[in-house]
Symmetry: C5
């Protein structure tokens, strides 16, 4: 779990709740029909836009964007290098017995141990990577659509409230509270956008990019192992995916 996401969500909510608390009552910020309109409307538009199958995966993808740790490419390189050393000492077939946690690496290792030709390994794993990107891409797209629908239904709610208030101004003392309620839907819409969907859409894109990099490292590593390259050459190749500061220092590699 990446602490940043959860901490960010907590901080955003505390900052907002504190601002509400200082101004007095919490209850003036809760209006059931407004909540139903904005959340119901945003959900309804999401249902209209996607088929049932995609909707079912939305929650999974949302949770994933929130709780999953960013993949660590550096550690993955170390793991691949360890496998390459085993393959060197014993043989590619010995890899199947090595315990491997990462599912994608496991699949890659199995393909290598099955003695499948490199182009088959590369194409099967490549399909997996593009399927993941497609899936995460659709998730980000759904969240971004919700980030647009929230404020739209917020505006619809505020307009409905304003029309009702303006048609009924006989009691001046009710104007203020009526307008306050009308503004709540706009506030809810803005919260949906800024706090509950946009950050997750952005995270999902970051995550998808990092995951694809990690998978590409695995593919390049397994192909190197299958080709019988020595571990040092493989490491040099794989580290090209890292930022300079994360690479093994050059001197160390030389000797």
């Amino acid at each position: 779990m990446d602490i940043a996401s959860v901490a960010g969500m907590l901080i955003a909510n505390i900052a907002i709740l504190w601002a509400i608390y200082l101004g007095g009552s919490f209850s003036i910020f809760v209006d059931i029909p407004s909540i139903v309109l904005v959340i119901g409307g945003t959900g309804a538009s999401t249902m209209m836009k996607w088929g049932m199958d995609d909707l079912k995966t939305l929650l999974t993808v949302y949770m994933k964007s929130f709780f999953n740790t960013m993949p660590n490419s550096k550690n993955m390189i170390d793991e691949v290098i360890k496998l390459s050393e085993i393959a060197r000492r014993e043989s590619v077939f010995a890899l199947e017995k090595v315990p491997v946690e990462d599912k994608f690496l496991k699949k890659a290792v199995t393909l290598a141990a099955d003695n499948r030709p490199p182009e088959v390994i590369s194409s099967i794993l490549g399909l997996e990577i593009s399927a993941l990107e497609e899936r995460h891409g659709k998730g980000a797209e759904m969240l971004e659509a919700m980030a647009g629908d929230g404020p739209a239904y917020g505006m619809i709610g505020t307009l409905i409230g304003l029309v009702q208030m303006l048609q009924n101004m006989s009691d001046p003392s009710s104007i203020g509270p009526a307008m306050a309620v009308a503004l709540l839907t706009t506030l809810y819409g803005a919260l949906i956008m800024a706090v509950f969907t946009n950050p997750m859409a952005a995270k999902l894109k970051q995550f998808s990019k990092a995951e694809a990099t990690k998978m590409n490292i695995i593919v390049a590593g397994i192909l190197g192992i299958v080709a019988g390259e020595n571990p040092r050459t493989i490491r040099e190749k794989l580290e090209s995916f890292l930022a300079p500061k994360d690479r093994t220092p050059t001197e160390e590699k030389k000797e």
Copy 2:
């Protein structure tokens, strides 16, 4: 029919109508000249933007975006595999007698049974796919243009109402209701955008993508059948179009 679209439309309307109902009278939300201005204006701009031929197909495309079920690629693969097994057991010419519901698959099967060369099959079906994408693309474009015109005419109506109200403020009690009416066009415009066009445009794009995937599966399948490949190889090829969780488990394929 995909229940999600219809259910979404119902939920959106119920949420909005409930918010109106709780605030009192429905009638204050109905103003004929405002409706004429926003709907008439949005329709008029659509007429100015497209030729007569495109306008005629707009309704069809709208209904389609709403009621059509998302194509199920998984079932289509099963159907293609069944055909490939028949072609294996008997011959490609036997396919013509197999009852096939999907129009595009029917066309593909007919071309195969006619013994047309693969490149002809591929180019004829390819043209069909790009024609479908073009048609759906234009439909989505028209709906998106309407999603922009609705709020624009909404703003024009509100400005007209405000000018009329501001020029005529002798009776203070009429100011509120006059402004309420002026805001109605903005509300109508927002509804056109958020409820009645944007979701359909998004659905149409999803639908078009899924339909093209299904068609590409059919093309790849028929070409495999014509080339005399065995059903298992064809399935493996076609499942590359699916998300991993929808594929036949690897173990099963091995034996």
Copy 3:
């Protein structure tokens, strides 16, 4: 003339004028300085953005976007097929005497009758197509720029009016009308955008696309004629540019 464009323009104007008429006087919507500011400003920005040569063609392009009929690719195919039949029966040189209305087709026929090599015909006509797309593209760009400048000058006018009103609030009864006048420029700007430029820009793009398709059909047809292909093959090739429903049914083509 495409009835849709003109009818659309009429409907938009009638809807707006009716909304004004129902609210009372027309005269409160006419303010000469506001008109001068918004139309003058939008025109001035257009002059600043383009050179004199482009400005001269703006009116032509505007009228074209408005009154020109969407080119009919289906009829053009029939005409090209008729020419191909004449070329078959008699010779390519006989085409020069056939009366041809479409200018571009005429040019293509002349090039063919001149016995120019196919690659020359193709490159000369290709240049013509890209020049048309460039011209229409620039026209659409100019109209879209005006659709942005209209509201911008509208806002400038409203801000000027508001500042003047706010500095001079001694007579409360004048505040309403002064604000009404201030809002007029925003209204004019919105009308320029939604009614008088955006639809034409969109139409021009549609038109340009359809015209280019028609021209590409002519090029493909003439090249087929020059290559001595038989009319049925040419038709099959040209109909690939059409939507399925507009194509000659397959059965008919078979015999």
Copy 4:
């Protein structure tokens, strides 16, 4: 100098000043701190965004976008053709003595007279063209950034003014004027965007495109001259860069 740019600037200013004049005093539209805030802020953001070197060229580029005449490709073709006739009659080396006003044409002629190989001429002149596009592109980017910063600082100024006014409402008669002043920064920001930067950015792009076309004509012409092509062939080639109506009529070319 292209009259359109200067005339456009004059018309825009006259329309705005007339609207101010009709409403009374000019002085209510001048507020020194507001001017300092919006112009200072926009300038400051521009400084933060670009390095010192780019800032120095901003004024040059601005003036250029304003006063430079759109390059006339038609005249340039005539000039290149004249040179090609001289080269034909005498020799390529004779070109060096022909007086040539356009700097880029001069450079091209010098390269030709120096007997440099065509690929060298082409690559040297090509670098020049891309350097010009880069330079003009950066100029347009800077102006567009200013067109965004102007309204942003305008909004900041209005918010500051509103906060000050709202905190100090003891004297009701001062509210109007205070709000008028607060709105001035928004007006200034809108003027920076719509009148003083956006049009120049658009012009610069047009200009850059036209200049690049003219330069490409020169390159194609000089390469034709160096290859010893006859002037008629060169003209036919160069006119492919022009719109049909600007080309020499076909009949004329035939004889």
Copy 5:
């Protein structure tokens, strides 16, 4: 340090503070809960969007965008030419002893002195360049995301303040100040966008472009040195990266 960035930041702040100072008290522009909401919220969204590793580099990148001098390609060319002259006079191996300040140039020189083959030098340095662009690109992306979140949380704060004010209008004299405080979050959000993030994001992009150009010059130069080209040829090649006015005049190069 590029004076433009720091000077711009100072000017922007002075202009804003002066506008506040002229209007009276500074203290009415400071509201701790509003500051906590906008800065806390923007920071929280940034945490939700990126993983811990990226967040750590944000401050470094921010400072860099602010204080780093735009790389000077012209000086770098002179330095590379000096190296090429040494390599000519003595040998490539002599380069290792030449003191070189620029880290990337140092690495390039070391690779050359190590006698690595040109394609290895080119690929190693190329990876470095794309890693830098990726890093700076992510930095600009983070700052742009903050430039969007600032105003979003600003609007959320203003809506919260308005709802609180509207629910509590019993004391008319408190309405103005309450609304003033409500507007502060919008002001803070606008300042975050226009002054504290957008300019740095733009600068980072400029900087990254200029840095990549400088690095490409170094790569081209080192490859020329390794290939044993003469310094004049190398200079001609490297100056193709500069604007015409920064190049060595042609005459000088001839002799």
